[in-house]
């Protein structure tokens, strides 16, 4: 076991990890950030997306020890300290972009990364960017719509949610 230290959502955090411990397991089991979900074991579903040093990563594809000293952002740190949802979270609620909520943390974190590199993505750009995030509930309609809305685009012409 190795001691691993990192900053999670702006606060120092540390715990014990084996060499094989995945960052997703470390966040969930060791540090208690259970908002990051694990939906597969082949790095396909994207429920575990977090940001490491500002870059979106699937935390099941990274070892905990690789994140030593890193700045990690998870879903738990996205809302304001008073609980106010951020623009993306609010758009997902406003446009019913989630149902069971299991893929949602990864969707929100991927969306944040998308909008950082492409502030006004087209429908097609959003759909292609979400290739690595699987949702089984929504048929993606309201997720795509929420992301367009979160980026300030007029979604009134898209069929009502």
């Amino acid at each position: 076991m190795t001691k691993v230290s990192m900053t999670v959502n702006g606060k120092a955090a540390s715990g014990e990890a084996e060499g094989r411990t995945l960052l997703s397991s470390f966040l969930r089991e060791e540090l208690g950030f259970t908002g990051t979900h694990v939906g597969c074991d082949t790095s396909q579903c994207g429920a575990c997306v977090v940001h490491v040093n500002g870059v979106a990563v699937k935390s099941c594809t990274m070892l905990a020890v690789e994140a030593e000293g890193a700045e990690v952002a998870t879903i738990e740190g996205q809302a304001a300290p008073d609980g106010t949802l951020n623009t993306i979270q609010q758009a997902f609620q406003d446009h019913h972009g989630l149902q069971c909520g299991f893929c949602t943390p990864g969707m929100v974190m991927s969306t944040a990364a998308l909008l950082k590199e492409n502030p006004k993505p087209s429908e097609q750009e959003i759909r292609e960017y979400l290739e690595g995030n699987i949702c089984r509930c929504t048929g993606y309609h309201n997720i795509v719509k929420a992301i367009m809305a979160a980026s300030g685009q007029d979604v009134s012409a898209i069929a009502a949610e």
Binding site: T42, Q78, Q99, C100, F102, C103, R136, G139, N142
Partner: protein
């Protein structure tokens, strides 16, 4: 103007806040003090005799607490089946034993043989690899038709064959159907496969068993759509724990789609082991395990024939289906190809004579059970494909042929044992023609052609039976459970309410929609109503959520309980206002006496109920809490019409969905936003079935599509925006809300229109293609183009 609260409004979902901030409480988020972890050693053979299991070395590995094998479960009950089918000869189905851990033989790849409990999940996994397991490989039975041939290897040695049952509906109709076929002007025949699917809710299954030696109480936390059903099945049939000593909690559940209805061996194992070890035991499925241990769905092979007279009226329908049960009978498996399938074969049409035959077959594959729609998608697919084929053979418009044969008068008793209460199939078809813009199709087809693509339009209708179900009826049909639903409405002294429901929400938004109903009934703000679900300790016995039943059955129970609350509250209000009870009215959260200025607020009455100083104690008890159990009088019958436009790439055979429209009749709608979201999700899964998804076994019984690398889950760029409409509303006549249910419609209604559209496109190229089996992969479509 849309309402901003109550029935018909679309308030934002209150559950979203916790899901959007990472503060949901899913089963895998639950960790109990000192818990151990279990890893299951699963068979890698589809069919094998266990000759020896040596756990000595594994048991000595670091952290191992104990290793369990089938021998530990001798004398313990097996996993029960909740539905017994009686076949066409009056014989009951063959029902094999289904042990918690395999005994003697493993019968599918994934069948659990041993369970290692250790201090950590990694230690359990490592030790499982050290178990010395010897198995003699036996021939695997994979193909259903081969499985029922004389001399086929038997999945279960103690059964007479691999045929579970040979069922028909109704046997009495057979002569009339045969006569109609003999006299038909035209007969259309179609053989088709309803592809095997894997439900794949994004949250894998999890079970945490706990035991309190001081009280003797067992607790199971599990990813279930129906915690009371699990408590009853596991407690009564597997482990012998009475309900009052067993609590089952299904907290936030990350999607179900049917596959989390069933009672699984892993749940029983964790509960059993927690007691045996006096220690909490946790199992978290990996996705790879989910593929080979969650019940699969669909997997029918059918031949359907439609007879028409010279005027193109449907005169008879007959269908023969082989339905895969897998290796064991999962909880509701026998009901899916029978009463949830055969009864829907009339569809939206007045076909006078129908005969359905279903042979259910055991194979060395994962058990197959209900998946979103459960039997109704299979019925709809057969019927709507054969009608489309008939229209093309006869050279008539597929929509016109459907309209000509629509049922138009209600109630309508079908020849297959059900009675539709309401519907208006022309209205949904009219709406579909409008929202799908049939008129603009020719221009869009030309535009596609100009781009070198081939466009096709496919249409279908559907009807489903939801609101499952009248207990006395399903009891006659073989159900071993009642299918009522329950609600307790507790009013607090200061006027807020808690509704404790037997329904379960795992994405459907009950915490938002159920309060809309109660708030409207009383005339208070929705924020005054809270929903509690998912814990057998604080909800009344209920049957849970599946079959699009939560609002139609669970909501009805909630309405009945609230009616009792209002009736009692009126007595209290009458006392407070010194008025006759009959003169008291409740409106906008206040009680008043007709024709006077007397009024008391809702909160004054609720306070009086708990501080009964000025109270009619001689007539009524203090307190304000009521329970209702609602048993539906009939199924509900949502219906609709769907249209899909596809574009084929003639170079590659790739199909892209260009437009998709759905016009549904769900009766009354409580929360349009949630209803439309349910339809979107169902369509996404239906398009997934039609284009992408398929569970594929090789002849040795290895599941080839056993991860997201191989099983094609629909991604965002596979799907379009959908045009959905639910403005055609013929309210259900027999439940108090007039609602029909919307959860499965999209998955039932969408596959046929996708396939119809692809066939339309292929025929527009001049290809002599009448059918392509799902999933319509580029390889299959390209092959069809070469004909």
């Amino acid at each position: 103007m849309p309402k901003d609260s109550g029935i018909g409004a679309s308030p934002k979902r209150r559950e979203d806040v916790r899901f959007l901030t990472g503060t949901g409480n899913y089963t895998d988020d639950i960790n109990l003090n000192g818990q151990a972890y279990v890893h299951f050693l699963r068979s890698d053979m589809a069919h094998g005799r266990i000759t020896s299991i040596d756990t000595t070395a594994a048991a000595a590995m670091p952290g191992v607490v104990r290793i369990f094998t089938g021998a530990d479960f001798e004398g313990v009950g097996g996993i029960p089946c909740g539905w017994q089918i009686t076949d066409k000869h009056g014989e009951v189905m063959q029902e094999p034993a289904h042990p918690v851990l395999a005994q003697g033989k493993a019968r599918y790849v994934g069948d659990a043989i041993a369970a290692v409990v250790a201090d950590t999940a990694e230690q359990a996994r490592d030790a499982a690899e050290a178990i010395e397991l010897d198995m003699e490989e036996l021939p695997a039975v994979i193909d259903m038709k081969a499985a029922v041939q004389e001399g086929a290897t038997k999945v279960h040695d103690d059964l007479t064959s691999n045929l579970c049952y040979d069922w028909s509906l109704p046997e009495d109709n057979k002569p009339a159907v045969e006569e109609a076929f003999a006299n038909a002007a035209h007969v259309t025949t179609l053989e088709l496969v309803n592809n095997r699917l894997i439900a794949n809710p994004m949250e894998p299954r999890v079970a945490v068993g706990d035991f309190n030696r001081a009280t003797g109480d067992s607790t199971l936390y599990t990813t279930s759509q129906n915690p009371h059903v699990i408590r009853l099945l596991m407690g009564a049939f597997v482990l012998g724990i009475p309900e009052h000593k067993l609590r089952v909690i299904a907290p936030d559940v990350g999607g179900g789609f049917g596959t989390k209805i069933f009672h699984y061996a892993e749940e029983a194992f964790c509960t059993f082991a927690a007691k045996a070890l006096n220690r909490a035991v946790k199992w978290t499925s990996t996705r790879s395990e989910a593929f080979i241990s969650d019940a699969h769905g669909r997997d029918h092979v059918s031949t359907i024939q439609l007879a028409l007279d010279a005027d193109n009226n449907f005169t008879a329908l007959r269908t023969d289906t082989y339905a895969n049960m897998g290796a064991y009978l999962s909880t509701f498996a026998p009901s899916v190809p029978t009463w949830l399938h055969g009864t829907l074969m009339a569809g939206n049409y007045k076909t006078p004579a129908i005969y359905v035959n279903v042979k259910a077959v055991f194979t060395n594959t994962v058990p197959v059970d209900a998946y979103r729609g459960a039997g109704r998608p299979e019925a709809t697919y057969q019927l709507e494909r054969v009608i489309d084929k008939a229209a093309r053979e006869l050279g008539v418009d597929p929509v016109a042929l459907r309209r000509q044969n629509f049922i138009t008068e209600f109630p309508y008793a079908t020849p297959v044992a059900v009675e539709y209460d309401t519907g208006d199939y022309n209205a949904t078809m009219d709406k579909l023609e409008e929202i799908a813009d049939f008129a603009g199709f020719a221009a869009r087809r030309s535009a596609s052609e100009a781009r070198g693509k081939v466009r096709g339009l496919g249409v279908n209708c559907y009807i489903e039976a939801c609101g499952i179900a009248p207990s006395n009826l399903v009891g006659q049909l073989g159900a071993r459970a009642g299918l009522y639903e329950s609600a307790t409405v507790r009013v607090n002294a200061t006027g807020g309410l808690v509704v404790m429901t037997g329904s379960h929400s795992h994405g459907q938004g009950h915490e938002t929609s159920f309060p809309q109903v109660i708030a409207e009934m009383i005339g208070i703000d929705e924020s005054m109503v809270e929903v509690v679900h998912g814990d057998t300790a604080n909800t009344p016995m209920g049957m849970g959520t599946y079959g699009s039943r939560s609002l139609a059955v669970g909501g009805s129970a909630m309405v009945r309980a609230t009616e009792k609350i209002i009736a009692k509250a009126k007595k209290i209000a009458a006392h407070l206002m010194e008025a006759a009870e009959a003169d008291v009215e409740l409106k906008d959260g206040a009680f008043s006496v007709a024709g006077t200025d007397k009024s008391v607020a809702w909160g004054d009455v609720t306070l009086a109920a708990y501080v009964p100083h000025n109270y009619p104690l001689e007539d009524i008890e203090p307190g304000l809490e009521e329970t209702a159990f609602y048993d539906p009088a009939n199924f509900t019958y949502p219906s609709g019409a769907y249209a899909c436009e596809v574009e084929l790439d003639p170079e590659t055979g790739k199909v892209s969905i260009e437009r998709f429209a759905a016009a549904d009749d769900f009766g009354n709608v409580v929360n349009p936003m949630i209803v439309e979201g349910q339809v979107h999700g169902g369509i996404g899964q239906g398009i997934g079935q039609a284009l992408l998804e398929g569970a594929v076994y090789n002849e040795d019984g290895q599941l080839l599509s056993a991860s997201y690398m191989d099983y094609a889950m629909p991604r965002a760029d596979d799907l379009p925006f959908y045009q959905v409409d639910h403005s055609c509303q013929t309210p259900c006549t027999h439940n108090p809300l007039g609602v029909k249910g919307c959860g499965e419609a999209g998955a039932i209604g969408s596959p046929p229109s996708v396939v119809n559209a692809v066939v339309d496109a292929l025929q527009s190229m001049g290809k002599d293609v009448t059918h392509v089996d799902m999933p319509l992969s580029p390889a299959r479509v390209w092959q069809a183009m070469q004909g």
